[in-house]
Every structure is written in C-alpha cells, then in structure tokens.
Amino acid sequence: MTDIFALLKGNPEDPDFEKKGVIVQGITGAYGSLHARNMIAYGTNVVAGVTPGKGGQKFEDKVPIYNTMKEAVDATNAKISIVFVPAKFFLGAAKDALEAGIKLLVAIPEHVPVRDTMEALELAKQKDAVIIGPNTPGIMIPELIKIGIMPPMPFKAGKIAVLSKSGTLLYEISDALTNSGFGQSITIGIGGDPVNGTRLIDAFEMVKDIPDLEGMVVVGEIGGDSEEMLAQRIIDSGFNKPTVAYIAGRAAPKEKRMGHAGAIVMGTYGSAESKVSMFNKANIPVAKRPAEVPVLLAGKMEKSD
C-alpha cells in the first residue's frame, strides 16, 4: 500500500523532509497560476511548472517552467505533480507525468472522459504511482502541505482523517470539525467522477495506520458503491477508531446526474439508503446535516474512551 505520508512529508533523514517538491502541470493557465500562487502561499514547495511551449520562462520570477514533465522531473527530482490542464488534455498530461516518474498525481480537472481516467489508472498501476481524482479538490496535510485548490481557512492541523467525494462539502465539514476542536491529520479529496484514481477504500488504507489518528470522517454522496465497499472494509479490518459518515443526495431523484458525473442512482445501485444501511452495519453513524458531523464524532469518542 502507498505510504502517502512518505510521499507528502518524507522521513526526517531526507534533505527535503516536510518540503517535498511539487510540479504544477498547466502552471501558466488562469486556474493553474492562481492555485500555484495559493499553494506557494500555503507553504507547498512548488519546484517547477510545465506548460508546453513556455519552457525556459519563470513563473512569478521564481519557479522554472519546462516544456515537458521529463525535463521538469529530471531537473527537480520531484515525485508529486498537480494537473490543471483542460479535461480533454488530461490523459496526455497524466501519461507525461507518470512516464517521467511521478508517484503521486493530483488530478484537478472536471469532465475528464471516464475512459481516459481508466487508461491513466492502468499506466499508474504499471508505474506503481497513485492518482488522486480527477475532479478532486486535492490532498492536504493541514498547516504543512496543500496540493489542491481548497481554501486554507477551514483546515487546521490535528488528528482526524477526512475523506470526501465532494469539494465544498469537504470545506464545510472540515470547517465544522475545526470549530469543534477537531483538527485534521490529512484530508483526501476522492473526487466526484464515476471512476476515482484513489477510491474511498484506497484512501482508507492510506490513513488507517496513522499512529496518532483519533478518528475518521467520510463524506460520501449518491452514486456507485464505494461507500458500501468502504463500510465492508472497515468491518473486515476491525478498524476501531471513532468514525462518522455523511452522505449527500438523499433527496435526489433517481437516474438524474446531480452535478457530479458520478452522482447518479441507477435503480438501487448508488442510492443513499444502500450506503447508510452499510454504514449502520459497520456501526458508523451517518450525520443528517454537515453540522452534525462533529457532534456525532464527539459522541463516538466519548464512547470509545
């Protein structure tokens, strides 16, 4: 299993411990440049950008820009990249990154064709790399590293892992957690697409053995069966840290895509009822409102004390 902390933080003996290099693919676009700036402001060590045809230039007079990922990786030895290219160019950008040796690829674009995601995933598997997303806000260790588009305000360093399919709900719920004194050890945006590079179960494997983890929050939504698979995995693994879930889309009509490409109920497949009942089976309470999440988490913690 991927040691996500080794990738994001490294080990104390590494020269780049807690300042792992990140390459921004599409750094000169409006969206890419905005978030490159925001990430740098947050403390993320953005070591290079890639925009074909703009190699040799510098971003904000500081960050070198390369034409290809190979050049960028050769020059920086970075293992992490974040992709801001338009959806139809995602597969090309992902191949470029994975072939160059990137081990963690954060895929921000929305509207990537599913087939392209699956092809990128096949390559990632061969290269022993991890893709987060597409259609994700990204991944962060609050107050240390942010590889994504999330605003910094809702997050605070702490001991709760938050896994979320939705972006704004991740902010909303992390905000509620922070206000209740629950900081976050890591937040992972799964993404709202039908096929996710890192599924909820994969994200769970990444966080379940964090030594000082005090709890986990899962923010799911209608569509697919990744919440059900996660609940089953939690049961099978005997994971016993206080865990709370939230599922969006209980009131959504069937067979309608609710904003996210993956948020659609087909028959009973992907329904909120199915997810809630599996979480119940795993003894995980499901909040009715985002604001209820920290309340339920506090309740769980009291019981486990």
């Binding site: 087939r115 305000m153 399919k165 039908p194 009509p253 904003g259 490409a261 948020a263 009715k288």
Partner: protein, 368 residues
C-alpha cells in the same frame, strides 16, 4: 445522458444487432401513418429516459385501429417518474420463446467494462436471477469470453451463436461510443430461434461528448438547461417551489436534503461550480427567473476566500434590473459577511449565518 429506446436501437441497428421492425413518432397523425406501414398487431411504447415504463402503463398492445386511437393518446399523455413522453415507438409484436438479459457497463469500483448476462431476463436488473458477471478490461470482449458467457447461460447451437454474436456487437458499440451502460433487456430467443433485442438502454459518458459528434443529435435539452450548460452550471429541474442554488455538487445536494427534511420542496438543483462571482450568481438568478413554479430561492454558498459582498452585489443587481422579484434566503459563508448583510438591508434578500436558519425561513417564506 440516457438515450431513448428508439435512439439506442438506432445505434444497435448500426452495429448489426437484430431488431424487430419499429418506427417512432411524436404525434398521432404520424403514428397513424406508421400503424399502416407496420400493420397490426404491434406494441405502443412510450419513449422516456427512465425505467419502469411497463408498470406505469407506458407499453400497450394494439390489435386494431380502434385500440390505436384510444391507446396512443393515453400513452402520449403519461408522465413517468416526472418524465413526459418524448416520442412513441410502434414495434411489431414478437413471438418469443424465452427472455434473456445482457448488458455491458462501466464497473466503477473495478475500473473496467463488465458484462452481466442471465438466462432469466425481462425483469428489472435488481430482480434478474443467476447473473453471470465477467470483467473484461478496457477492450472489446474476446471470442473466448463471449463463448463462456453463452455456455454459462446454458445456451447451445443457434441460441448460443446468436448471443455470442450480439454480445460481440454490443461490446464494440460500448467501446466505440464510450458508453457507461448498454443494456438489452429482454434479449429474446424468438420462435424461429433467432436472437433479438426487444428493448435498448444506452447511457453515454457525457464527458466524452467532444469525441462523439455523431451522438449530438440525441442531446435533448430544454432552453434553460442549455443556458445553464453554457454558463458552466449543473441544473436539474425538480417539481417543487423553492429553487436551490449553491457552489459545488455535494453542497447543493446536501442543501436539497436538508430542505426536504424540513418539509420544503425543491424546484431545482443548481450548482454554479466551485467559485462564486457576481456574474455567476447573477446568471443563476436569471436562469431561475425562467422557472414559473419558483416562489423563493434558497442560496447556500461556501465561499472560503470569496467575498460575500461580491455575491450581495449580484442580488442587488438582479433586483435592480428586474431579473427577479422573489425572496432570497441565503447563507453565505465567506469574508466580509457583516458588510454584505448591511448592503442587503431593505432588499428582498435575507442573509442567515447558518444554512439551517436559511432553510427554515425559506420553508416559512413560500407558505405565505
């Protein structure tokens, strides 16, 4: 996007999958012409992009002109799961020996295409028994796998050949058109032992539309949906009276849930996307003004770094330009919210600090 049955069948025909004779129409005059061409008996089938048509009375047998004159308008007038008839398909009656089930879908958790087949079709997939499930990777189904499926279905001779042939064509169609789901239910063994697709379901991956201009003709959008798409919004129309607007699909779904929990009836789901600007919120209000049934607007924006004053400006401008004349119940999370509240004093927009308060006010507000 889910295609209508007759559209799915157009694609099936293109790929050489056996079908009964059928013709689609959008009014009874056209229908009468088709009835003559086709000849009785035939089946009248409502064309809606949802399942459960049979149960809702959307599929009717027709033996003669008298029945046709009664049943065609009846079926045309049905609304199934909120969907009105887009067309009516007349299809020759089938002489069936046995109904099978066959589909290929994009397996989200296994990340590959997957076949589901069964020798007991004709019922909804949830009730299909003895399902044979085969993961087939990202390419077309191989001869070997197709033969295995037919064998496991207990088919032999002509029946097996027919199913293998259909499965291979279906798989080619799925891959080439980048479908999320292609289903034939029932796939029938006819009295003459041929294999025919009696129904067809086809769900596209809308994100791959740019590679499939040939599917564009099936895109059916209302004027308002088209406008939403142009603005980069996601809109789903619902039948209540409170429009729900927010940024981010998850947040809007969550708002919809809470509104429903509190007895409110959502009129639409409108996601303006990750950010919120004066323009995007103004545009959203313009869209909503075109929905007649709306009595109030519930806005839930998680701004993060967005200035709520920017959003407040959009409300003020929308009233000023007479775009809307509806009460707005709004929760704006972001910076400068006190100033925003001040700006909106005396307008028909109320700002609340929690979404729960905004929802309660909206539910009470539209009752008045």
């Amino acid at each position: 996007m889910q295609l209508l049955e007759f559209q799915a069948k157009e694609l099936f025909r293109e790929y050489g999958i056996n079908l009964l004779d059928s013709i689609s129409s959008t009014n009874i005059e056209e229908g009468r012409k088709h009835a003559k061409e086709l000849g009785y008996p035939f089946v009248i089938k409502i064309q809606v992009p949802v399942g459960g048509r049979g149960k809702a009375g959307g599929i009717q047998k027709c033996q003669n002109d008298d029945e046709f004159e009664i049943k065609y308008p009846q079926v045309m007038d049905l609304t199934i799961k909120g969907e009105k008839a887009r067309a009516i398909l007349l299809e020759k009656m089938a002489d069936i020996k046995k109904e099978l089930y066959l589909s290929i879908f994009l397996n989200r958790s296994k990340r590959c295409y997957t076949i589901i087949a069964s020798a007991e079709g004709g019922v909804e997939i949830e009730s299909v028994k003895n399902q044979i499930i085969k993961e087939i990777g990202l390419g077309e189904v191989s001869d070997e796998v197709a033969q295995e499926v037919a064998k496991e279905m207990g088919l032999e001779g002509k029946h097996a050949e027919g199913v293998i042939d259909t499965l291979k064509k279906l798989s080619k169609l799925t891959i080439e058109k980048e479908a999320e789901l292609v289903e034939i239910n029932p796939l029938a063994i006819m009295q003459d032992d041929t294999i025919m697709a009696l129904d067809g379901k086809f769900v596209t991956d809308d994100n791959s539309n740019f590679r499939h201009p040939e599917l564009e003709k099936y895109q059916e959008k209302s004027a308002i949906e088209e406008q939403a798409e142009k603005s980069g919004f996601s809109l789903v129309e619902l039948d209540g009276d409170i429009a729900v607007v927010g940024n981010g699909a998850g947040l809007v779904m969550s708002t919809l849930d809470m509104l429903s929990d509190n007895g409110g009836k959502p009129a639409c789901f409108l996601d303006v996307g990750g950010g919120a600007t004066t323009e995007s919120v103004y545009e959203a209000l313009t869209l909503i003004s075109k929905l007649d049934r709306v009595k109030g607007i519930l806005v839930n924006l998680y701004g993060g770094i967005v200035k709520t004053t920017v959003v407040a400006e959009a409300f003020l401008k929308a009233y000023e330009d007479n775009v809307i004349d509806l009460p707005v119940f709004s929760r704006l999370k972001g910076t400068e919210s006190e100033k925003a509240t001040e700006m909106l004093q005396g307008s028909r927009t109320k700002i609340f600090s929690t979404v729960e308060e905004a929802i309660n006010a909206a539910v009470m507000g539209v009752k008045k």
